[in-house]
């Protein structure tokens, strides 16, 4: 109970949510828990995502060219279904369900579904489905399907495919955008398997997937000759065999997946094909996968003594998804920590500041995961330097939303799905992302004493971030305080002053300013930590002058923190003068007011006017 997420009935309206909650992954790729008989049809949404598998597309919309970098939905490797005699192919939504039980076993990383159903002809069939995305070998996944003819005998057709005809359609409000990311390169049968190879059409990431489908009866391989029923974007094969009443067969579908950005490969299709030939049966692969999860849980499990009987399950589900997002298999991939995992298309797989919440956990268990995620930032330091320079600042300015190459991926304009209107989006002005990065480096170092990391990578980032803030801060002579203007704090409901035309950003956000002070002090501490020789080298390398360091010290002691008249710290300068919001009225009118910004925009109003804070995600 404390290890399993169980659903005892089929609920089409909940299927989307369950697909995410029960998604399986290994830090290299993630596949949503879509039914293997399903395609994107409004109820189901099969999705397979690569860690760091981005692609950019441009769309002309409302007279503007918009470019987005998305986390690409790669080919669906799940398709596996069957039909009896010449009836229709099984689809969960077209049969009468007698019993249903879907179970995500967190301990084993195994998703199962036991189903009993009767079809239009009154035939009763039982199926048992198991699947895993291997944590032992990141290139491997498996799906097995047992089919039992309860009250019928007949001819069974089994269909297994890899579907490259997928698009990014997971987020409704992105659907107006160009979402056609893939081109199919190859699509063919290979010895005892099928192979599909595709490429993203801008970033040119090549993905090769091979699938081997075998059928067993009483433990014996009875796989009939396959009939190729492929189409242009889908490689597919069908098997036909007879089934007697009471008999069952077991279908095992094993896949291998390689990409052009993998290390240790010659070419992704070749590797997918080589490996599929070397792999044993479903149960052998599952055993290795299970063992890896067993060891992971030995290292990562936390058991709570809690009154809530679901507390442990909830906690484990979070840990489970964390470890599926970032694992030992992510280390070589040059990826950051995405806001919503690699589990879907919301937030486009971008890297915000969410690592801030995950690192404390990783630091104490497997700090090399943190290091690899911090290196994702380091590799984008040149791009961040360029961004700072172009904005007229020193140092490095990391983007609020980061993707493939570290440019700012946040949109400057945002379409309100409620009104269709394009709204200026100032959220990219959340410069506190830089403070978060410095904070994360420092805490990684505190947990590990990894001098080597600090010496070669960490210090340089911290110093450049300190420089950035020091060059943004302006001295206000009147009050002898340093001020930081034109930025946005973690509360995205406030991005400008409502009464000023063309206002962008706010002044003296307390969270940002306090953290900037902290960053400046830490940067000086890092420099003092270094041996003299290295201190000089790092200063020469980034062109850091003694005067700058003195200025950091000065600013760190005099950053302006605004207060309300009653002595409470103000969120930002001027917050106190905003209008009180009519909470009851809006709650009554709209019910769900979590996206108050969009509601007010439709009304021609803006959250900027009110004392209303959005949760910092």
């Amino acid at each position: 109970m404390e290890w399993s997420l169980v659903h005892d009935s089929y609920r089409p309206d909940e299927e989307g949510l369950r697909e995410v909650l029960s998604a399986l992954g290994n830090g290299y790729f993630v596949t949503r828990a879509a039914s293997p008989d399903a395609s994107d049809d409004g109820i189901h949404y099969p999705g397979t995502y690569l860690a760091g598998g981005y692609n950019r597309l441009k769309t002309w919309i409302s007279g503007r060219e918009v470019e987005n970098e998305d986390l690409v939905n790669f080919p669906n490797w799940l398709p596996l279904t069957f039909k009896i005699n010449d009836d229709r192919w099984f689809r969960i939504d077209e049969v009468e369900i007698r019993s249903y039980r879907q179970k995500l076993d967190l301990e084993a990383g195994l998703l199962t579904r036991r189903l009993s159903f009767s079809d239009q002809s009154g035939r009763v069939t039982e199926t048992f489905e198991q699947r895993f995305v291997s944590m032992a070998d990141q290139h491997v996944a498996g799906l097995s399907l047992e089919i039992r003819a309860v009250n019928w005998s007949g001819r069974l057709q089994v269909r297994s495919a890899i579907d490259g005809g997928v698009k990014n359609r997971g987020v409704k409000r992105y659907r107006g955008l160009n979402q056609h990311h893939l081109e199919i390169l190859e699509n063919r049968e290979i010895r005892e398997a099928i192979l599909l190879c595709c490429r993203t059409n801008q970033s040119h990431i090549v993905v090769g997937i091979a699938a081997r489908t075998r059928i067993y009866r009483n433990g014996e391989d009875v796989t009939p000759e396959a009939r190729n029923t492929s189409s242009k974007t889908r490689v597919e094969e069908e098997f036909t065999l007879d089934l007697e009443m009471g008999e069952s067969i077991l279908v095992e579908k094993i896949i291998t997946l390689y990409t052009s950005i993998d290390p240790a490969i010659s070419e992704p299709m070749l590797e997918a094909e080589n490996k599929i030939r070397r792999l044993g049966r479903f149960d052998e692969l599952l055993a290795e996968h299970r063992l890896t999860w067993k060891h992971l849980w030995e290292d990562f499990d936390i058991e709570l003594e809690a009154d809530d009987p679901l507390a442990n399950l909830k906690l484990r589900l979070h840990i489970f998804h964390l470890l599926q997002t970032i694992s030992s298999h992510s280390i070589d991939l040059d990826v950051g920590f995405p806001a919503r995992g690699w589990h879907g298309e919301a937030y486009r797989g971008h890297i915000f500041w969410d690592e801030l919440f995950a690192f404390p956990f990783l630091n104490l268990h497997t700090p090399m995961l943190t290091r690899s995620l911090l290196l994702y930032r380091y590799r984008r330091l040149p791009e961040a330097r360029c961004a700072a320079r172009e904005a007229g600042y020193l140092g490095a300015m990391f983007p609020w939303q980061s993707g493939s190459n570290g440019r700012e991926e946040a949109q400057r304009l945002h379409q309100n799905p409620r009104s269709g209107r394009w709204i200026t989006d100032n959220t990219y002005r959340q410069r506190h992302i830089n403070a978060a990065i410095a904070y994360n480096i420092w805490h990684y170092y505190q947990a590990t004493e990894d001098h080597e990391f600090m010496y070669y990578y960490g210090a340089e980032m911290m110093l450049e971030i300190a420089r950035l803030f020091a060059s943004i801060a302006r001295h206000n002579q009147e009050i002898d305080r340093y001020e930081i203007s034109g930025i946005v704090g973690p509360d995205e409901f406030h991005t400008a002053y409502p009464k000023e035309a063309h206002s962008e950003g706010l002044n003296n956000n307390a969270y940002t300013n306090v953290l900037v002070s902290w960053v400046l002090i830490r940067a000086i501490e890092v420099l003092r930590m270094f041996p003299e020789e290295r201190f000089r080298q790092v200063c020469e390398r980034i062109g850091l002058k003694n005067g700058e360091i003195d200025r950091w010290d000065e600013i760190s002691r005099k950053l302006r923190v605004p207060f309300h008249r009653d002595g409470i710290i103000s969120q930002f300068e001027g917050y106190e003068d905003l209008t009180e919001f009519d909470w009851e009225g809006y709650l009554e009118k709209y019910g769900d007011i979590r996206r108050l910004d969009r509601i007010l925009d439709v009304e021609g109003d803006t959250t900027n006017r009110y004392k209303a804070s959005k949760q910092a995600d």
Copy 2:
């Protein structure tokens, strides 16, 4: 003098050797020191190689299909030449040289060439060429050329190109093989620059190169409009301007190079184009490059007190090439340590055991370079496991020659360039490569106490290598010793017993057996080092049984080491019974007998018959 390799005259016959000795690189790519006016013509051989830039090609030759994985010669970014009026394009080999001085400045990583020449029309021209491959930014290189009209006035045409029409023709005896590795994808002018993009035709590595050429007179940019003279495989532009007697102009060619296997990119062409727009002038880029080398030398220089006045120069030249082969820029590239650097095509850029000689130096200076090179092995552990299994052994068997994906790249048949005959090549049986890897892991650990590396990566490799040797070793009951048969030691002149038909490999090579004993003892030590919990996990993970560990202990104490009758350790069992070789006779007959194996093969004989040892490279 102790920092510079200088050549004061032009020698066509030495040009090939100088191109290698003065090659410039940064651990990411390396470019031979070919003259920028030259193409592959028997004297010159322009070559640019990527760290880990491999491609496989098949050739039908003498009725056999041979597949080789090569280090690919990528497009030549150097081409830069000029002509006066409508004369011929300048080529070093077609003019009368008045003075010549080529200097490789190791301190700055800068190659210069100062030249004064007169052409067929009696015009005297002076040129000064400088080039670097940036150690500060691995994607950047620069070439500058100053041209001075000493005794003439006239129209000068300058031609700058990126040449994608290159092939792998660096090694004469490979020329019979298919060496056409590249396909050109794009080839066009971009704003103020040119761009060429190509892809290897099997491994599908995409390389994008952008080149910006600007011309200055008295410090002022006087770049005329470019005329596009591109062809199918070469993007090229020409500039025309007038030069007065005594005047000089400065041509600066800056390039950016990105590949599809780079981290932190969206797409290589896009990155090459973005970056070329952001770069400053030659001298600014050179200054950053110089500073990086200054810091490298502060860390890595060794100064000898030696009688040989060239001792320090020689030592520094070695360090220089080591740091150009493996640098901080290699860390993200998943590359090993190649036998001959990334400086040319000999040994096809394969990874043998040469890291054994480089690691002690790296361990004491920048051990993270060693770790990254050991991780190259770890990522290929699954392939090594597969190789062991297919050979009937336990554990992991790393290849003698390793390339992209870790399969054995050594040829089983070798063509003798002296005779054209195909000889069975048993050198792949050098299982001591595995002992070298274990040795390297242990010594890295000794130098660093990097528990994390040992815990997650190192131990697993050492244990699997111990297993391999324990499963190769056979107990000889008669003498109660363990024997290892059918292998080749570091002396490649002995790969089989001459009197036995179909003999492959030798028995009880002393070097191998002693080292195997060492490996087994270290493997046990590593296991004992682990906390109990981790000991159990690692045993479960690789399926290691207690009985195996006991067997390692037993074998380690009883490996057979053969002795000659006079008490000297024999190279291998039976060496003593080989024939004495006629050293004087052969030296007299052939002069150079370093490749004795090929000489004897032509005579229908074999080194296997004689007491003659090849140096262990």
